[in-house]
Amino acid sequence: MTEPAKPANALELHDLSVAYRVGGRNRAVLRNLSLGIGQGEAYGLVGESGCGKSTVALTVVRYLPRNGSITGGAISLDGQDVMKLDAEALRRARAESVSMVYQDPGKALNPSLRIGRQLTEIFELGGVSGQAASDKAIAMLNRVRISDPASVMQRYPHQLSGGMQQRVAIAMALANDPTMLILDEPTTGLDATVEAEVLDLIAQLRQELSASILFISHNLAVVSNMCDRVGVLYAGMLVEEGPTDVVFNDPRHPYTVALLRCLPRGGQRKDHGRLDTIPGFLPGIGAAIRGCAFADRCALATDRCRTELPPLYDLGGRLSRCHYHEQAQSLPRATPSDAAASTPKAAAESVLRVEGLNKTYASHGHALRAVKDVSVSLRPGETLGLVGESGSGKTTIARLLLGLVPPDEGGRIELEGKPLAARLDNRTADQIKAMQIVFQNPDSALNRSHSIRHLISRALKRLAGLSGAALQARLDELVRSVRLTDRHLAVKPRQLSGGLKQRVAIARAFAGEPRIVVCDEPTSALDVSVQAAILNLLADLQSKEHVSYIFISHDLAVVRYLSDQIAVLYLGRIMELGPSENVFAGPHHPYTEALLSAVPKLDQTETSRIRLDGEIPSATNPPSGCVFHTRCPRKLGAICEEQEPSLAEAEPGHTIRCHIPYAELARLQKQKAVQTEPA
């Protein structure tokens, strides 16, 4: 794809070192990083948080935070030395040749300017103004597949959905027809179906445009679908680089090997065994690294690894920074796979039974049915996974069960056969103890001013009614069971990493020996290696304590790993409910089918993806008939618009809310040969 007039590489980093000044000292974030991205090439940069991915992006556009500085090396963008540019030349480079799109489009757009203004100002820089600029802006919005661009031009960012905002951000980035497009976690935080749309768009635009792409993501599957080559970053160093499929299928660095093993893949479930983890932590920024940065966490490391920094070995078209790259894949597991998973006793009485649960909110005079007619039951030691896009009612159901908000009249919640009061205030202490929650963000769930010991003891006092020596004994036991050590007890939450904080939150939830723990996206904010450890912990606790989980997550592979039953929600209604394996294996509801198809997979087997058009309809004004008919790719016709289908039993224990008969669904989905195995 190289054009003769241009330099070989669109972006070339040579020996780049960047440091952040913290506490009066320069601390290295990037260490002698060298990489090149060819003309028209898509290069993926992966690694866990804190490894310097975003710093690379910000360095290229010279937008480091105030305390950041480039301490060495060179950046060449389209043959231009970025480090030598003065302010005006840098501005021109940003205006003409490099663009960037990042996470959280809601924040990236100016909240007080109309979309049109934010787009036209880019064309004005190029000397086009007035109507001509508007026309170009509209053309640009068309290009990112925004229907009705003229009306979008008149809107403010907050009036657009997340997916639309990211399209606008991409349109702005492409408006100057850049030679280099930097995408920094462009789909993180978006719903799976929206993420799939945005990724499709980027893939399509790649065909149309000549831009080279630097794609930064923590999500290996996304990178594997989008990029030609991939670089794995660890502690600010490139540890492995090569063509995407080669690196992911045949990794040659223990870190890449370990990272790939942390992901629940190929439908792995808790009863198949535990996920592998990576012991230890990423070296902090500025840490002195003598040998291999990964040596402390690598079971293959020898004395040589600890003292001698491995060079980037050239393995013929790919690189690995490991002395023993041939053996990388023999890395022993950090966590033994064999752990007995709890199998729910078939005959056991339900620990939780929910019947006809409804919740209607009043929103500007309209009724908003957040949850409609939800009935589920949960046996001891079993996990119910709740999946669905944002706004589908997952979290509302959790709040209703916990009694944080009262449901509408008429529904029933039973805990171990006894009816449970709608409001928390009316529940007995035992009932409150029996149901606990673990939140997504342990930062805001833990009081910052208390020590970990105080936080857990307090839960033990309040929930288990313990004191004195009994409390101490239980505290020790609890702390050990979530694999924290005494060392962690004395510190305050801010001194712990995200994963450790989540362990504290889990310990607190388990203080009162609960029967049910609601896990609301407990691993969404965590890196994959930490996520694996938390999932293992939850699975271990479940098999030991026979506790039941209600597990909410947008990550289907994670839900699949932990769940025995899955409820797929759309606009507050259960669209499909059944044993986890049946729901995933199919035949399934067309919505489930679309959700599964939207998940990016590591092994790029699938090329065609079921796209959902449009956005989730508003819950204040849900579509008539089947609420999914506006987006359903398998819509039958008038019946779907007029009659709401009931949850019909497809096979024992597996119900689907669809007019299409089960046998027909099976035939349609087999025909499409949709691969249903998530990564």
Partner: protein
């Protein structure tokens, strides 16, 4: 509240007006004619009813309707407030913006520290110091705010500069600090990064993208301070012998002239409420997120 407070305080209105040596019968008669011997609720009801109709009652001391006093005083206070406002708002915002653009450099330190130091000084301290410097020592400005009769606009303005300076000092640090933190937040925001990375000139980034978002919260603060500017000037008005609503209330409170006191305080309350309402209105006009709501 004020009404009740006035009633609960020890002292008898008739006694206060007529003095300690007056005959008890005369005191009772006066109390009766003023209506203060009626039951509390009746008094309150008729007072509120009259206030709504524009009748603020009759001053106990001056034996004339309260309304002209209050309106005159309010007018005077508003003049003083307007001068202080016109001085402090642009300069305060400018100070904050300059500080933020020079974050952690000497200029920022001077503005932030200087603003904070003068803000914590109470206005009677700064007022006296300013009188000493400009009125007594340099003799540039008159030490009293009471301008001669028939003074024209500029003469009045001239007399108002010195009294408004302590107010300026009190508010400057406050407004500058709000503007500064708003600016810092906006400068660190993702949308500013987007604007810079679009390749827009720095000036455009600041004017078009940063300022408007940065100054929104400052507007709310300024508006709540408007209430203070009009109602909280007892000290300044006394110090400069200025016939504003603050000094009116002060005098009324000392003389137990409840109709004046109550009317004055209620008026200030109304000014506060109106200023806050105006601020909310302005804020919603400037902020599309509130103006247009969400599309859901």
């Amino acid at each position: 509240m004020v009404f009740l407070g006035g009633q609960v305080l020890p002292g008898n209105v008739g006694r206060a007006i007529l003095g300690p040596f007056a005959d008890q019968r005369a005191v009772d008669a006066l109390n009766h004619s003023l209506g203060v011997d009626r039951p509390l609720l009746t008094q309150y009801g008729s007072w509120i009813w009259n206030f709504i109709q524009g009748d603020m009652g009759t001053s106990y001391i001056f034996r004339s309707p309260v309304a002209p006093f209050v309106i005159d005083a309010l007018g005077n206070s508003m003049k003083l407030a307007a001068v202080a406002f016109v001085l402090v708002v642009p300069i305060g915002i400018l100070g904050g913006v300059i500080a933020a653009l020079n974050l952690n450099r000497p200029l920022d330190r001077i503005i932030s520290l200087g603003g904070l130091s003068v803000t914590v000084l109470p206005e009677f301290v700064t007022g006296i110091i300013l009188i000493l410097i400009f009125g007594v020592w340099l003799r540039w400005l008159p030490i009293s705010a009471a301008w001669p009769r028939d003074a024209g606009f500029f003469t009045q303005l001239y007399y108002l500069i010195l009294p408004s300076l302590p107010l300026f000092l009190v508010l400057f640090g406050y407004i500058a600090r709000m503007a500064r933190s708003g600016m810092i937040e906006a400068l660190d925001s993702d949308y500013t990064r987007t604007a810079v990375l679009k390749g827009l000139p720095w000036r455009t980034v600041i004017w078009r993208h940063v300022l408007r978002n940065a100054l929104l919260p400052t507007i709310t603060v300024i508006a709540t301070q408007t209430g203070y500017l009009i109602g909280g000037l007892v000290v300044i008005e006394t110090l400069f012998r200025y016939q504003g609503i603050g000094s009116l209330i002060f005098t009324a409170a000392r003389g137990k002239d409840f109709p004046v006191l109550e009317a004055g305080i209620l008026t200030i309350g109304i000014v506060y409420a109106v200023a806050t309402l105006a601020a909310d209105f302005l804020y919603s006009v400037l902020n599309p997120r509130i103006r247009l709501g969400t599309d859901q």
